[in-house]
Symmetry: C3
Subunit: 475 residues, 3 copies
């Protein structure tokens, strides 16, 4: 194979920095000052077993394609079946895996302008040392080079954790999880990293769903509490939160269709709980009880000190047939509009100035940045504005985020620091790198317009990588 | 008259390209690569008779002012009566026409920063060779020069169609239209262009309006079907869609107050249809039946293959008195908020992965770009994000569009390509030119930040002008 | 104390102008052409007594911190108690004042990227000639320098009014206010300024609040009208509006949770009014009657010619406990989403083309700029789009404002001109200066992209500072 310029993978050292020469010079200095700082990752979805058991990665496709809904969904939109990418397949042969990788490379053009292109090309270049651009012609060569690499000890999860210079990483876990992998890591004298669980109780807070009663039974068993009553549910939750906190958890995470949190009076809560346990609660009552449950989580947070994070307003499994064939988390979740000012008022009136309470608010609905989130975080000492997440964790949206929240009330000190929110372990360095580049670019704009001095910008660049995540997540 | 600098029309060859010198160089190369490609116009409002009969344009005012609500509305906001611009006037004398043109020129300052200025000045310079800037002093001279030009054969619609290098243009037509002008063009051996009708059935889908029963009667007559029953309505629609498709239609267009599409069960649909035919349907029931009708259109589209386009959420004829005096489409339509994620779920669960179905979603509510439209188009193979339309078909909004939809999930390949959506035939080249300049500018940003190579950007610039409209509209 | 570079206050002459050298050159020329024009301030909250009695300022803290919720709220978010800033404190000692100033300086970093930093540093440098940057170490020195200055005659309100070159300023006043300070100024032959009252009747239009009946009693007393009936309420309002207009008022201001304005039929209005007077109105009925009251205000405006301004959709006193301890206007107000297209249709159908009626629409919900406000202002001759206000009166949001409203229909001529909306008298020059710099920057972009000629941009820069506020507020 001859190599034309089209075949070369272009990974420019200044990528994502402002193109205007004056700003680029400023941004490069800012970026250089933070690019090698350790990674703090307080919210994500990496399986703890990978690190506990140092599980070797099997093949390029099951590492980079099958489990990554960012990658899958755009191939699906371009007519590729999720089955052909290995999603939810009982058997998936070596040839099928190689073919999935070919499908990705053949459709590489579809990712132009998306962050997947940046992350993936960074991974290829920086982690695997690949110099070929993804294309139909290069697919096999790239596949082979990755396959060869991940067969070596240098590409085992623990080695990569060290190579990536991760200082702290949080996983996301079910309240009934025994956290055995976290315990194994904690008890392993050869392990020097820090992997914390995160308490994610969503499905136990949705009493109108079919699965709820079974889940709450199981919650009771694990907690050793009778969840037949509302008080039992509360006690079981408090028990499991304590269990998580003992094992290093710093936060609980909540993702419902709206961020509502409203305390019912006790009798009404008891009544609805009983109806739910009898399987007779209506959807509207289910919403009311769920909002009470969320309020209870906030109350617990104000006592046990776990940081509360919210990722609200996503329509899960939007395409019914895909959900049936492939299950959840396969790219079929679609955001919706969200409202915080009214929805959070009861919660914030109760706990908003409680010094033990912290609430990090994420959104995919950008309209709330200047209208609701920055004004809230600029008043309540408990509230932090979460950085862009999911569909808007991408360069243009990250710029909009800083330009919307900073001046309209939050400054930099009321924002969360970067979270990668990913199950794609190998993309973590690239995701944090993207954030650092873009924050450097925004700060360069402020310096270029004499809104900040260079000293202030350098200090702020450091804060965004180190101080803010530590403060927002109590690390 | 002496000519000062104020009198000179400034139409810079680099207008709308980025001002930063490095980006401008890149953008100019990208723009140069696409600026002379033929025009594909898959959605618009040019009267087909103009081309069928090659109707000569009468005078500058009835060509450029009276029918163009973009031009009229801002004059109206500045205190000019629509009557003085010839809107809905039975008689409008030559002197009144000349006076209307003077009013436009005297108020030219009002258009600063709006796309009308770009389009109109481009038309003056590029089509008419005018070198004077619009002003009270220049109004008559410009009027005379245009009047002189349009009296010549070179300014007849067919000659301009050829001069504009239009490859394909769609009109917008009533389902009961006999499409005689489309047939005349198709049967004319001297005509080499391509003019397709578009099926626009909105008013037949609004059963709570006063006009509906009469319209549906007429629909039945034209289709040769008894529309006394729901099944008859469906059959008549299928019949007319087939008629349109036979005559070259590639799409149907839908503009309701919300994009809801929900199938009723058959009995309920029958019941509401009967109530509507009896003139007894309530507004709420009318909405429910309309959403069922829209669902039916999607079902038909999945069978006959016509692309479905939606332009939802406009409050038509917002100012009652203006509507009474001047009729519809005179500038008094005002956009509203829109919601796609929930509204489209039933439709997309039914047809979203049907290979025969395509849905192009337009919006004037920019909040849905990153929140709903890009995520939808980045998953469903049927969904395309429509380019900015109407009030947001303007430079700053077009930039926001690309910056919002590209990275948040749609890339470039899930967008519609440019549509001009205009009845102002002479503005078509300027509108497509504006789009090409701005897309070149956005791509230049990506190249300048090393997010795309120049080769990738050149390929994408071509795709946006040629590949995407062909793909989205099945051309 | 030795002075390091960190100690120096950096106030660059080109701050907030575009950083790209070509655009900066253009922007500087535009800015220079308007920077010294007099200040027109048609909406704000400066106490008229300050100017009427030429009250000397007491101390730096009660001048710059205690009454300014922009400053307070971000300190509160950073853990500083409002009590420690002097908010609602019966006694507040000199040492406490000095300590409050130290708290501000020690937390100065929190304001990075916010407009407070720009305003405050401009005030320090331009008004007080301070060359030290705020910091814990510099706090006392800066405090002393300000304290010394405000003890001199040059820093009395009237002297500053003259120094600031204010041409017109409006205060905001209760309908029952006797406007004695405005009368004193009007009757003072030594006073050459222009201070107009603004009619702000919000609380008299909220019939479901506890305070309403007492307020309406008092309104009746002051107006000399029996407000026992709906007709009496209307007459009292007309009476007080006339009183205000006689004393120079040019506008009335309205801030409710939504901008709804719907005329009830007379019998229903009477019925709800009677219920409200009996203290028996429900919240829903209260909203309906309030919207009727707002409609009445518009009707009055179309007769007496006072410009109507709206600042809707703020959740007042969001944190109950802070409201109880510190009262209103202490930084705890949080914006909400807003809808204009439907809410204003009845009002605009009634008065939208009335030549005596003008309506200036402000928003903190940026989503309505291109979707609703620019389209409304680009059609209705009565409607002006208000400039960014409150949380979005900051550089990045001001840019978004111009980029969103100009091209989508309003141009420049349908916008309000700058309003400072502040009670912080000393920040007025800096606020107007910020606006002028940013408008110069936006116009420079248009010139740089050849969308405007330099002559057009210079003319527009002047219009935005002089012509537009005069037109929008009938000055």
């Amino acid at each position: 194979m001859t190599t034309s310029d089209d075949d070369v993978l272009h990974v420019h050292p200044d990528r994502l920095l402002p193109s205007e020469p004056g700003l680029r010079t400023i941004a490069r200095e800012l970026y250089d000052s933070v690019k090698d700082l350790p990674i703090i990752s307080p919210h994500g979805h990496v399986p703890p077993q990978w690190l506990a058991d140092d599980v070797p990665f099997e093949d390029p496709t099951s590492l980079l394609i099958t489990p990554d809904h960012y990658v899958n969904r755009l191939l699906h939109a371009n007519g590729v079946s999720l089955a052909d990418l290995g999603v939810n397949q009982e058997t998936f042969t070596d040839e099928q895996k190689r073919n999935a990788f070919r499908l990705l490379c053949a459709n590489w053009k579809a990712y132009r302008g998306t962050p997947v292109k940046f992350w993936f090309e960074s991974e290829l270049a920086d982690i695997f040392g690949i110099t070929l651009a993804p294309s139909e012609a290069n697919a096999d060569a790239i596949y082979d080079q990755i396959a060869e690499a991940i067969a070596t000890p240098e590409f085992r999860p623990r080695a990569l954790y060290k190579k990536f210079d991760i200082e702290f990483i949080a996983t996301t876990d079910d309240p009934v999880d025994d956290l055995r992998f976290h315990e194994k890591l904690a008890g392993d004298p050869t392990w020097e990293g820090k992997v914390a669980p995160t308490f994610r109780p969503d499905k136990y807070l949705e009493p109108a769903t079919e699965a709820w009663n079974g889940l709450v039974d199981r919650l009771g068993e694990v907690a050793g509490v009778d969840t037949g009553t509302y008080a039992g549910w509360v006690a079981a939750m408090e028990n499991r939160r304590a269990f998580f906190k003992d094992r290093g958890a710093v936060s609980s995470d909540h993702s419902h269709r709206d961020p509502g949190a409203v305390k019912l009076d006790d009798a009404e809560a008891e009544r609805l709980y009983a109806k739910a346990r009898a399987g007779e609660i209506t959807p509207e009552e289910g919403d009311a009880l769920r909002r009470d449950f969320v309020f209870q989580q906030a109350r617990m947070a104000s006592e046990d000190g776990l940081v509360m994070t919210m990722h609200p307003a996503v329509y899960r499994n939007h395409h019914a047939e895909s959900f049936e064939r492939y299950g959840a988390d396969v790219g079929g979740d679609i955001p919706m509009g969200v409202e915080f000012t009214n929805n959070l008022r009861p919660l914030l009136s109760a706990f908003g100035t409680n010094p033990n309470f912290q609430l990090v608010l994420f959104t995919i609905d950008e309209t709330v940045y200047s209208r609701e989130l920055a004004p809230l975080a600029g008043f309540y000492p408990s509230v932090y504005v979460g950085v862009p997440w999911w569909f808007i964790d991408e360069p243009d949206a990250i710029r909009r985020f800083r330009r919307a929240v900073t001046g309209s009330g939050a400054g930099f000190g009321r924002t969360s620091g970067f979270i990668d929110d990913t199950r794609a372990f190998l993309s973590i360095p690239a995701r944090h790198d993207m954030s650092r580049r873009l924050d450097a670019g925004y700060l360069a704009e402020l310096v270029g317009e004499h809104r900040l001095t260079m000293d202030e910008a350098l200090d702020t660049a450091y804060d965004l990588v180190v101080t803010q995540p530590r403060k927002a997540f109590k690390l």
